[in-house]
Symmetry: none
């Protein structure tokens, strides 16, 4: 049983108390086959352990048992938005990922450069994975395409991947992919799924026609495939639901984009976690909620680099006292999902969480790790419970019903 | 995953086994800052501890993590009714709270006596918190108002608060509050939210007009504000869903009202828990389900009186053998929510539960407390799971599906 956002909004209250939510990307891990210890267990983290000893600890299910989340849904859930209801299209995610500032009615699509033969049949969906430099060069060519009634943005992402954004009046994202997702086929036209998207389909097809001409002599990248046409989801902002003045502090575009999506004010930094804390300290009086994102744990996990993930966790631990010196009323430390180095990717395993506040039951645990958190006072919670718990511990929730 | 009431009703069976559900109001607590022990942990409760040692124990989330429930939703959930679906309006709750017997189509509203200046602008929403005696006196004046086509009941609640009930044909509770919830404004008219409530709005406005005349010389209580227009929710009774003959034994009107709402036969008592057990013993052959409510733990918690809450828990413990002597097939002991003395009010923290029955797995716990129950065999359950578990342990549920 969980109450929905509308019911939650009715009981949230604004107050001076401050919440800091530190999201250590890909925090959860799996034990090294030799030592039997996860990355978090192998790391020397006296600050985190000490916090956990008097905090409410538990494990977070990002989506549900067995479900491995992408970064988008995992973050939405942590911010209290059910990712099975609020979905972020592939196109929008690419735009967020490169820091492209989407406007309300923009249509974004994920693009692939691909190879087609003389009959237009796809022979390689990724154009031999051209390098990112080449991708940028081709994108700047495609970006010069002019179509009447619509503004057009083509931006490189990585290797063969790019982003297409259409901006204009009366556009609709209700289109099927042009990418058939296999070789040996001719790319589809952009077929409309409803009457409202017929004219958008025509615009997309006109773009593809122009792109084809421009790319003719750029084998292997001589054609484009588009998928995931989408628009910014209509998400009620955290300012409205939680009555917070939320700030997001992150280094990577996608996380800044996700935070902007839910109504946070964004502070960029190119530095490490310590630098992020400095940014937060500078803005500490202007906000009552801070989302702080650390990416490097996830990157190390994705690389299968157990030692590097351990090292990043230890860096975080060393910087923690500077965060604690700000004395937030509620400190939440968790991850958006697990990224075990052993699996070189995101996984479904639940993620350790600690909520430090004077209003915990203070059973605490012996340390901050997957196994200790499994017997913490919070038990196993859904990511959707994190914000209500943070708000409750900050005394920012009224009673539900009388 | 929980099955809904319709599916549950299909598998409930009537049988001679007896269930006793003891609801210790506000049972859950927080540790005293000095001793580190919660009220339940500080109390000497050998009977409860002994029961817990061979019972199925766990922690109950009344609504969901972080959500602090009012008494209405918390009790509905314990009786198996999802409080996010069955909501009890403010007016109905006031009526239940003073033991006013609402009929099916009655419209109830919560009233405030307030102060208005010579321009009708509200200067005090609570009329200087007039005492309850004064409130009763003014209510008996308002109770004499006669309006055509409708019967009218005005009853004092406490201080500036009263209850208004309208009884008649064709009434609808679909009205906006007349209480603007702040001073410096003129009270609203009772605006209808739908065509069906237009005539009810006129009746309410006529009542307010009469009340204004009567109260003219009763400064500071010279006007009324009404809110929470509501009707008894349409709740399928426990007799139907569970095929039980349920009895409710409680001292305070609201709890008797809530029990009546779900179809229990009510037995009043003005005595303590021991007296409630005597009442139950007298009726033991007439029912197969007994809800027994103890209020004093919550009152002590609300007062911030840790010692008093401990004392009440110890009294309950001493009386328990008399309940056990009745040999119920299933004994459920839990609370509707936590009321930590430290917080002087309801809180979101989950509530200990024990289910004693020959059909438990008998992992048991070392005692009955927040921390022991956290590692009990039931784990963390929703309040909605309590009735299915009680019914299962009483062997009153058939298989779900074949």
């Amino acid at each position: 049983m969980t109450i929905d956002l509308t019911a939650l909004e009715e009981i949230t209250i604004s107050s001076p108390s401050k919440i800091v939510m530190l999201v250590i990307d890909g925090l959860g891990g799996l034990p090294d086959r030799q030592t039997g210890k996860t990355e978090l267990e192998a790391a020397f983290t006296p600050q985190l352990d000490s916090l956990a000893s008097s905090a409410a600890c538990g494990l977070v299910e990002p989506i549900g048992p067995g479900i491995t989340p992408g970064s988008g849904p995992a973050h939405l859930a942590l911010f209290g938005y059910d990712p099975t209801k609020f979905s972020i299209g592939r196109g929008v995610l690419e735009a967020l990922g490169i820091g492209f500032e989407l406007m309300e009615n923009d249509i974004a699509a994920r693009g692939n450069f691909c190879t087609v033969d003389s009959n237009g049949v796809i022979t390689d969906r990724r154009a031999g994975r051209i390098n990112t430099e080449k991708c940028a060069e081709l994108c700047s060519l495609l970006n010069q395409i002019r179509l009447s009634g619509v503004e057009l943005f083509v931006r490189p992402v990585k290797e063969h991947r790019f982003m297409l954004v259409l901006r204009g009046e009366g556009l609709s994202p209700d289109l099927n992919d042009t990418d058939p997702q296999k070789t040996g086929m001719v790319p589809y036209n952009a077929s409309p799924r409803s009457a409202a998207s017929a004219s958008t389909a025509e615009i997309v097809d006109a773009f593809i026609e122009e792109a084809k001409k421009i790319l003719r002599d750029h084998h292997p990248a001589n054609m484009v495939l588009l998928r995931g046409f989408s628009r910014l989801p209509d998400i009620p902002p955290m300012t409205k639901i939680y009555k917070l003045k939320p700030a997001g502090i992150a280094k990577y575009p996608m996380y800044k984009g996700l935070a902007r999506l839910v109504g946070m004010e964004i502070y960029s930094t190119n530095g490490d976690f310590e630098e992020e804390i400095r940014v937060m300290a500078d803005r500490y009086n202007q906000h009552d909620f801070f989302y702080v994102h650390v990416k490097e744990t996830d990157s190390a996990g994705e690389d299968g680099n157990f030692e590097q993930k351990v090292k990043v966790l230890e860096q975080i631990d060393r910087a923690l006292p500077k965060l604690l010196a700000l004395k937030p009323d509620v400190l939440v430390i968790t991850g958006d999902h697990s990224t075990p180095a052993l699996m070189k990717g995101h996984s479904w395993h639940p993620v350790p969480i600690l909520i430090s506040s004077p209003w915990c039951r203070h059973r605490g645990t012996k340390g901050f790790s997957e196994s200790y958190c499994a017997s913490g006072e919070l038990g196993r919670i859904s990511a959707l419970d994190v914000m209500p718990l943070a708000m409750a511990h900050a005394l920012k929730l009224n009673k539900f019903g009388a």
